[in-house]
Amino acid sequence: MFGFRPQPPDAEHLRREEESRRNLTAGGLPLPAVERLKRLAAQQGTPQHLFSSDLSVAELALVEDLGFVALGQVMGTSFYQLGMQWRTANWRDKDQGKAFGYEMEVLTAGWGNARRLALGRLQQEAELLGATGVVGVKLKEKAHVKESGAIEFSAHGTAIRERELPPLREGSPPRKLFLSTFSGQEFWVLRQAGFRPVGILVGNCVYFQVLSNDQWRVLMRLNAPNQELTEVSEAMYAARRLALNRLEEQAGKLGATGLVDVQVDAQLKVGQTGDETETYGAEYHFTLIGTGIADAPPPPRRAPLDIVLPLR
């Protein structure tokens, strides 16, 4: 009527969108990503092959020195809506003023699933390229709670494989690969020390501690004398125990002998009024993210450990 008319939906476009969504539901990748990566993988070993990477020049040189080639940038992302979990402390009258703590399983699982989905997609992208590893993985998380109750988690890095391995042929099974947060320099130093990365591991726990009436009164009374709120301190240890055990269980499954570069994030909310629900008590978000390592024979050329004085 006014010169624009909505285009009738393209049946092919709709079919592709539907298939992408099915893939995502199964924890997989949307079609455009799969097709692009397959195209890139097919070009490996031919003159058309081109790699992109966010490695710096020095990192690229060091990774190549270890006998790897860069294959391309890979990423994984997931938007996730956290479920609702009631905090028992909202009915303080019923629990008769006793202290108890419990894990908020819905929130723990929500944060955990979002991270797993994103890292899983990163790994699938690398598998499509025939990679045996991903270095320099950077992790980003963001809570969009105010707008939609959603969190975002994304990861990106550079896929690499050993130079002597042939390009992955269409239809052959994916190679075993490692993810690591290490930069090119760290990867090189780690190999020198006789270790190799086996994977990025995440352990988390959201823990809620209902305070006893006694400690609650201390919390609410500004002029109470100096004293420790032992129940809150204990809640942190309980959260730490669950998160660290999860981290190490996964590390054990991957055959790691240790975890380095573990980032510890312990966030406490206490006695505050939440955005949606009123929080009466202490809530701990305990998150650990690190890279598992295992023994591996060091490369034949060993750099001596020396002291230098940079003239700058």
Partner: protein, 274 residues
């Protein structure tokens, strides 16, 4: 001042902490360590002859009382000073006890976080996190009283310190919460438009710094240390307003392990980066 240390004591470590450390050690077949050391630090700690054993944590959530200062007087707010000090001591002691449970010689890379929470910011959260390490050949590295050593030195600094013939004994601290007097009205009026030193501020900052540094030194002397490295004085109002400030001195007390303190001759390099 730190509370005296009794080896093997479990003062204030909750059951879940003790259980958790047992779970780490008891995993069948292999010893798995978790560490917040970076790759380079991990390499240097190993090169210095140590193995990382695990992540250790000390925490204490403390309710800080209230003290109303005399507005026109420079004074230490002892209620506040005395709240911050034992809360830190508790967190550090718990971390040391965890290290002791793991059979460690000490803890490197200790990071100490302080945050204010809760209603009227009346809660202070103290968290100490570090990596427990043990000497591979079983050389003694604990403090004279059997306390595992603690230090906020990075893996790089730890390696260099040992090469230079010293070892860390203890993370020593001193603090002082001080109220800076408000200027009187008459004084303020008499000074309008003139260049003058605000002596009450200058004097207050000196007093508070001296108290914090003296307390840190007393801790180091109690550990029979020869010196303190990496000492720094932080000041923070922790939300108490502009006239109340905490001076917090922290450093690593060290003792010599050899007579000479010569480094191997460093190579001179000119980095071609940047």
């Amino acid at each position: 001042m730190r509370t005296p240390y009794a080896p093997g004591a479990r003062v204030g470590l909750p059951d879940s902490a003790v259980a958790r450390l047992g779970e780490n050690r008891g995993r069948p077949g292999r010893r798995l360590f978790t560490s917040d050391l970076s790759v380079n630090e991990f390499l240097l700690v190993r090169a210095a002859g140590f193995d990382p054993l695990g992540l250790v944590l000390g925490t204490s959530i403390y309710h800080i009382g209230f003290q109303f200062p005399r507005l026109f007087q420079n004074q230490e707010l002892t209620v506040l000073t005395q709240a911050m000090s034992p809360a830190r001591d508790l967190a550090m002691t718990r971390m040391e006890e965890e290290a002791d449970l793991l059979g460690a010689d000490g803890v490197v890379g200790v990071r100490l976080h302080v945050a204010r929470r809760g209603v009227g910011a009346s809660l202070a959260e103290f968290v100490a996190i570090g990596t427990a390490i043990r000497h591979r050949e079983g050389k003694p590295f604990r403090a004279p009283d059997g306390r595992p050593f603690t230090s906020d030195l990075s893996g790089q600094d730890f390696w260099t310190l040992l090469r230079a013939g010293y070892r860390p004994v203890s993370l020593v601290m001193g603090n002082c919460v001080y109220h800076v007097a408000l200027q009187g009205m008459a004084q303020a009026i008499s000074q309008i438009g003139r260049n003058v030193e605000l002596q009450n501020y200058t004097q207050a900052l000196y007093d508070a710094r001296e108290l914090a540094l003296t307390r840190m030194q007393a801790e180091a002397e109690a550990e029979q240390a020869e010196g303190i490295v990496g000492a720094e004085v932080r000041d923070d109002s922790h939300g108490w307003g502009s006239h109340t400030v905490e001076f917090f001195a922290i450093g690593t007390a060290i003792v010599p392990i050899s007579e000479d303190h010569e480094l191997p001759l460093p190579s001179l390099v000119l980095p071609l980066t940047g």
